[in-house]
Structure formats: structure tokens, C-alpha cells
């Protein structure tokens, strides 16, 4: 049987945004590339070294932690929010695949030699832990996964927290390259991370806004439009790209082609409809 169709949902305002991929190391560059106004780097950038981490940790941190802290700090800086005031949602399809490869390889050969640090870095919420420690944030943090729907699931959790508790929240999304034997089953290439600070009300920092609902007959996952975004399609967090492109190319055209349906489950999507901002701030970024 079919239940009642839900109009339930909410709205969120994007007050901070950040992006990092080796060929698009930063939102300004990525935004220009998604608009077709700039090309990705030909020589990939070194992985970020977040200032939030102590010098020794900067080198030792897993890729996921370095990526997540880099984009989280950048998005929060832009939002004008205090980092320690934001609940945070970290989403990743696979977590740190290099740490998993290390754990499974070592367990297969010399299990009693497992590194205690790498073990605690293997938890899916490692990046969330490092973020809250580095920023002194005692607010709630969570870490979620939903395979190829991980971006939509993370955004739904962020939008839900933002609407339910009427507070700005931080969403951080990332995936890294599959390494070692894991690469024979797990599909993910390169590094990709993005972060959004989403708020329940418009502010002078708002660069985009969306009304959101659940839709139980999605039209399929939206595809990245720009060549720059398409070049990142192999990463397991590439599901974030259509929303990032939409934000990069605002103001939107105002017709149905702007509506995004991010997959949540095989027959359910997070439907996002761009909303005009009170003032035309979007052209500034």
C-alpha cells in the first residue's frame, strides 16, 4: 500500500561552503571551474595540511582527517560562525580506506603488531573526533555512511538537525582513493571533500538557499554538468557535485531544471528546490 505523501521538510541557507580536490584545491577555483570559467590544475596539488592540527599531526593524520579538517575550517570561516558552536555531521561512503587497508593487511600477517593510533584512527568518526578536539567543540557530532547515497544521507541529517533544532550545523563530506587489495572491490579514486554550513534562516552570509522535501519517485541521480565536475566522478563522494555545481552557477534559471533529486535509497530522494535569496548576494561569490 502507499502511505500519505509527505509535504514535510524544511529549508536551509548555505552560509559557508568549501571544497577540495587535488585538481581543484579550494572553492574559488572549483566554483570557477564548475561555471566553465577556469580549468582544473594540470599538476595535482599536495594534500592539504590543516592549520588546526599540530605540525606533527599534520603529517601523520590520515588523508580523510586532513581533507575533512581543511574544508570544515574553510566553510566555518566563511560562515562567520564560531566553530565550537556548531553541531557537525560527517559523511563518507567508505571512511579512511588506507587505514582499513593497513588494518586488514596487518591483521592478516602480524595481528599483535597493530598500531594503537591507527586503530583509533580507523573508526568512521575519526575526522569528527579530530575536528571537535581541534576546535574545542563540545556540540554533538555524528558520522554517517550510505554507500553511493552518502552525500544525500549526510545532507538529510544536516538539514534535519538544522530544521528540527533551528540551529546552524556543519556538514562535512569526503572520500578518498581505494588502496591495496580493497581497490579490487571498492570503487573510489582521488580525493574529494566539501563542507557546508547550513542555517535555518537567511543571513548576510547566505550564498544559496533550498527548500527540501523527500520524494519517493526520484528520476535517478543527477549527473555533474561541467567537465571539471565530471573529471571527479570516480570518487565515492561525487554525489556532492551536482549540488555544488548548482550553488556555483547561481543565480539559477528558476525553472524545473534547477530542481535536484539526491538519492537516499533506491526509490527515495532528497528533493532540493533553489530559493531566491532576500538580496542578490550570489553574484559576489
Amino acid at each position: 500500500m502507499s502511505g500519505p505523501q509527505s509535504p514535510a521538510g524544511g529549508a536551509f541557507f548555505v552560509d559557508g561552503i568549501a571544497f577540495w580536490a587535488p585538481t581543484l584545491p579550494g572553492w574559488e577555483h572549483a566554483r570557477a571551474a564548475f561555471r566553465g570559467e577556469a580549468a582544473p590544475l594540470e599538476v595535482a596539488a599536495q594534500r592539504p595540511a590543516p592549520e588546526l592540527l599540530a605540525a606533527a599531526e599534520r603529517r601523520r593524520a590520515p588523508d580523510t582527517v586532513a581533507l575533512a579538517l581543511e574544508v570544515a575550517a574553510a566553510a566555518v570561516r566563511e560562515s562567520g560562525c564560531a566553530a565550537d558552536a556548531l553541531p557537525s555531521i560527517f559523511t563518507s561512503a567508505h571512511g579512511d580506506l588506507a587505514v582499513n587497508d593497513y588494518m586488514c593487511s596487518t591483521l592478516a600477517s602480524q595481528p599483535t603488531l597493530i598500531s594503537p593510533t591507527r586503530f583509533h584512527n580507523s573508526v568512521h568518526n575519526a575526522a569528527a573526533g579530530y575536528w571537535t578536539i581541534a576546535t574545542g567543540c563540545r556540540e554533538a557530532s555524528t558520522a554517517v555512511s550510505a554507500f553511493d547515497a552518502s552525500f544525500g544521507a549526510g545532507l538529510l541529517e544536516a538539514a534535519s538537525q538544522c530544521s528540527a533544532d533551528a540551529r546552524p550545523v556543519l556538514l562535512v563530506a569526503f572520500d578518498v582513493e581505494a588502496t591495496g587489495a580493497l581497490a579490487s572491490v571498492t570503487q573510489s579514486t582521488g580525493l574529494l571533500a566539501c563542507a557546508l554550513v547550513v542555517a535555518p534562516e537567511a543571513s548576510r552570509r547566505s550564498i544559496a538557499a533550498f527548500d527540501w522535501t523527500l520524494a519517493d519517485d526520484p528520476v535517478g541521480a543527477p549527473a555533474a554538468r561541467s567537465a571539471a565536475a565530471q573529471s571527479l566522478a570516480g570518487n565515492a563522494m561525487s554525489g556532492a557535485l551536482p549540488l555544488l555545481e548548482a550553488i556555483a552557477t547561481m543565480p539559477s534559471s528558476g525553472d524545473d531544471s534547477d530542481v535536484l533529486a539526491l538519492p537516499l535509497a533506491p526509490s527515495l530522494a532528497l528533493r532540493l528546490v533553489p530559493r531566491a535569496l532576500p538580496r542578490a548576494k550570489t553574484t559576489l561569490r
Binding site: 591483521l107 597493530i114 598500531s115 568512521h124 571537535t132 555524528t142 558520522a143 523527500l214 526509490s267 527515495l268
Partner: protein, 410 residues
């Protein structure tokens, strides 16, 4: 001086329409209730894996011979077998199917917690790589070698079509699912939510906790002055949540929850329990009650030196002597990502059956413990019960449950 933090508003209670739990004590609620009533540990000497460490474990019997139905065979691994076994308990599948009929498949969310999900299957693959260094042909389903193995399996097994996500915040995972589901229900995104969690024994956690010197060579003794670390267990548990608008009934209620971060260390709790206390304060605020209203607390109580010291001090300073606080980890072991739901179930059993469990295996309480900490179980009414779950990364969650009449009178 720490900055003032916002206080959450009270929430409307949610009905626990059904719940079930499977642990080393057995399949279904009655097995855990019996072990708790009898103060009986289900821990056994570690015999897991090719090179077992000298420790004790809470192992679920029968997983080796559990078969998944043919349409679900692609998910076959120890963790999803335990999920399947756990779903069989207490008529839970029937309750979910009834909710699906009542509300529609797209109106039932699946929010499940796990720490390591199916990593055991990945470990197996690494011990059996083929000549090219790739996973063996019979263990190559990408949906198994990823955290969402659990969520996707349960969604498929129960033919649910609502939002489906796997929460993985180490040992608070399957407590936080109640919070995420409450928000979805409050916003009207769904009309019911299947929450819970599953974690299974695997090399990663046995050897990982051993590397951190947190594993005990004897059955764990939570809050004991001579405690020597944790005993790792495996478990599955599930609950079905609905809004409280179905009229009066006897189902216990979720009254509140609190989530927080320690902001201190990846694998050691804040020495003053600041994060845990913030989760407690938020949980009480959402429940709209004072600490004095809490009859029973199922503590995180892992038997690690630091957790128990910090948690005991928190309980001693915040609760009246009449609050009966205990840890059930001596019965089930520390079931990691499943601990939240196992201990939520234990708390609900205390509410429904009037039995406040003791702290099994513990002989002499650490002097840091207050009068709330009990080694012996006792019969008595539990109107309001708390369950604490604290995880790596400083990730904390406190849940508040209540009997239906106590929730109504609040």
C-alpha cells in the same frame, strides 16, 4: 570559564512500538532478561579467529550456521548474519511489516548503528587474496566491504523504502540512532523508524583494543577497584519508534536524548567527564525531567580504568543515592557499536519487568563510586531509566526512557 551552551527544548515522547535484542545471552529479550535477573555472565574464553588473544568474549552462538534467505545471500557475512538472527527475535519482523502496512514503505526510516559493520569479511578477504592480490571471487560484493553493509542489508531484508543511513560513531553508534530518528519523526519525514545496531567480533576490534592495552585477560569487572579492561562482545538489537499520537497504550517511551563531544582525546574520556555531563544535561532537558526523577541508569561501564573512573564520578555528583546505577557489560561484554541498542533494551526491560540489574563480575567497587553504583540486582519499579553510551573520538550519547504512565505524568 567555558562558554554557555544552548539548552535544547523538551521533545514529545516517542512510542517504542517493539524492540528485540540478541547477545551472547541468546536470541530475544527473554534471554537477556533471564541473564540479568540471574546476574549471569555470558562471557566465555576467547576462541574467535585463527590466533585468539587470551581474553574473554561475548560470542553469539549459531552464527556460523545461520543462513541468509537466498535473495539476501549477496550480503552474507558475520555481521549481516547477526543482523538477520537478531531480527528473528520477539516477532520483530512482524511488527515492522505491520508498520510498513500502516504507514507505507517509504514512510519507515532505517537508522542503524555499527562500529565496524562487516569489516570481518574484509579481514577474511585479506587472508585469502588471489594470485593478483585481489579479493577472492566469493567475497567481492562491494556492498559488504563498506560501513553501510548493515543499513542496506536491513532495508532490503524488510523491504523498507524510507530514508536509510548507517551511523558509525564507535561505541555511541546505536544510541545516536534514536536521536536521528526522533528528528525525522518530529519533522514528519516518516511515520515510523527502525533503529538499532549490530556489531560482530572481528580481528580489528580484538587486536585493536589489545594494542591500546584496554582488553582484560579475565571477564570484565566494571567499576571494580581492580578492574583490568574490557571484554569485547557482539550483539544485535532493534527498536521500532513511532510518534506518540496513537492514543494511550502501555508501550514504553523514548523521553529524551543528549549528544555531545568531549573535545579532548581520540581514545580517552575527558578527565572531568565534561562531554558526558553535557550529554546528560541535554538528555534531561529534552526529557523535561530532573536527575532526581531517574530511578535507574544503565551505565557505559566498560571496565576500562578511565571510563569507569570518569563515569562513576559523574553519577556520584549528579544523582541521588536512590538512583540504582549499574553496568551490564559483565553479562554481554562490550558490544561496541551495538552497545547503545543492547543497553537501551536492557533499560526498557528494567522498566517493563521491574528488575534493576546488578554489575556482574564486580567484587569490590572502586572508591570513586557513589551509593548509586550497585553490584547486586534488585526488584523495583523503574519509571524513568537512562542509558549511557560513550565512544572513541569523544562521542557521547545519553538516552532517557520511561514507562508509559510516567511519560504521561511528566
Amino acid at each position: 570559564m567555558l562558554p554557555a551552551l544552548p539548552v535544547p527544548a523538551p521533545i514529545a515522547p516517542l512510542r517504542i512500538a517493539a524492540y528485540t535484542v540478541t547477545s551472547a545471552a541468546g536470541v530475544g529479550k527473554a534471554t537477556l532478561l533471564a541473564a540479568l535477573r540471574e546476574s549471569r555472565s555470558a562471557l566465555t574464553p576467547n576462541d574467535f579467529g585463527p590466533t585468539p588473544l587470551a581474553t574473554w568474549i561475548g560470542r553469539v552462538a549459531g552464527l556460523e550456521s545461520t543462513l541468509l534467505p537466498r535473495p539476501l545471500a549477496a550480503w552474507d557475512c558475520r555481521n549481516d548474519r547477526l543482523a538477520w538472527l537478531g531480527l528473528q527475535g520477539d516477532g520483530f519482523i512482524d511488527a515492522v511489516h505491520a508498520a510498513r502496512e500502516r504507514h507505507g514503505a517509504a514512510r519507515v526510516a532505517v537508522v542503524l548503528g555499527t562500529s565496524t559493520s562487516s569489516i570481518g569479511a574484509t579481514e577474511d578477504a585479506y587472508r585469502a587474496l588471489d594470485a593478483d592480490g585481489a579479493f577472492p571471487a566469493d567475497n567481492r560484493n562491494p556492498l559488504v566491504h563498506t560501513p553501510h553493509s548493515l543499513g542496506s542489508f536491513v532495508r532490503e531484508a524488510l523491504a523498507l523504502e524510507g530514508p536509510c543511513v548507517t551511523v558509525s560513531t564507535a561505541c555511541s553508534s546505536s544510541a545516536k540512532v534514536f536521536a536521528a530518528a526522533e528528528r525525522m519523526l518530529r519533522l514528519g519525514l516518516v511515520d515510523a523508524a527502525l533503529v538499532g545496531g549490530v556489531d560482530t567480533l572481528c580481528g580489528s576490534v580484538l587486536f585493536g583494543f589489545n594494542a591500546l592495552q584496554l582488553v582484560s585477560a579475565e571477564p570484565c569487572r566494571p567499576f571494580d577497584a581492580e578492574r583490568s579492561g574490557i571484554s569485547i562482545g557482539e550483539a544485535a538489537g532493534f527498536a521500532l519508534l513511532e510518534r506518540d499520537d496513537a492514543g494511550d497504550d502501555a508501550a514504553p517511551r523514548l523521553l529524551g536524548y543528549g549528544e555531545s563531544s568531549d573535545a579532548h582525546h581520540m581514545s580517552t574520556p575527558h578527565p572531568d567527564g565534561l562531554g558526558a555531563e553535557r550529554a546528560l544535561d541535554d538528555a534531561l532537558a529534552r526529557a523535561g525531567i530532573d536527575a532526581a526523577a531517574v530511578d535507574h541508569i544503565n551505565l557505559h561501564g566498560t571496565a576500562s580504568a578511565k571510563n569507569d573512573e570518569v563515569e562513576a564520578a559523574l553519577v556520584a555528583r549528579r544523582f541521588p543515592a536512590t538512583t540504582h546505577a549499574s553496568s551490564t557489560k559483565g553479562v554481554t561484554g562490550h558490544t561496541l557499536g551495538a552497545a547503545g541498542i543492547v543497553e537501551a533494551a536492557a533499560t526498557l526491560l528494567a522498566i517493563e519487568h521491574g528488575w534493576k540489574p546488578g554489575t556482574v563480575n564486580t567484587r569490590v567497587l572502586d572508591p570513586v563510586c557513589g551509593p548509586q553504583l550497585r553490584t547486586a540486582g534488585v526488584a523495583g519499579r523503574v519509571r524513568v531509566g537512562l542509558s549511557n553510551s560513550f565512544g572513541f573520538g569523544g562521542n557521547n550519547c545519553v538516552l532517557v526512557f520511561a514507562a508509559a504512565d510516567a511519560a504521561a505524568r511528566r
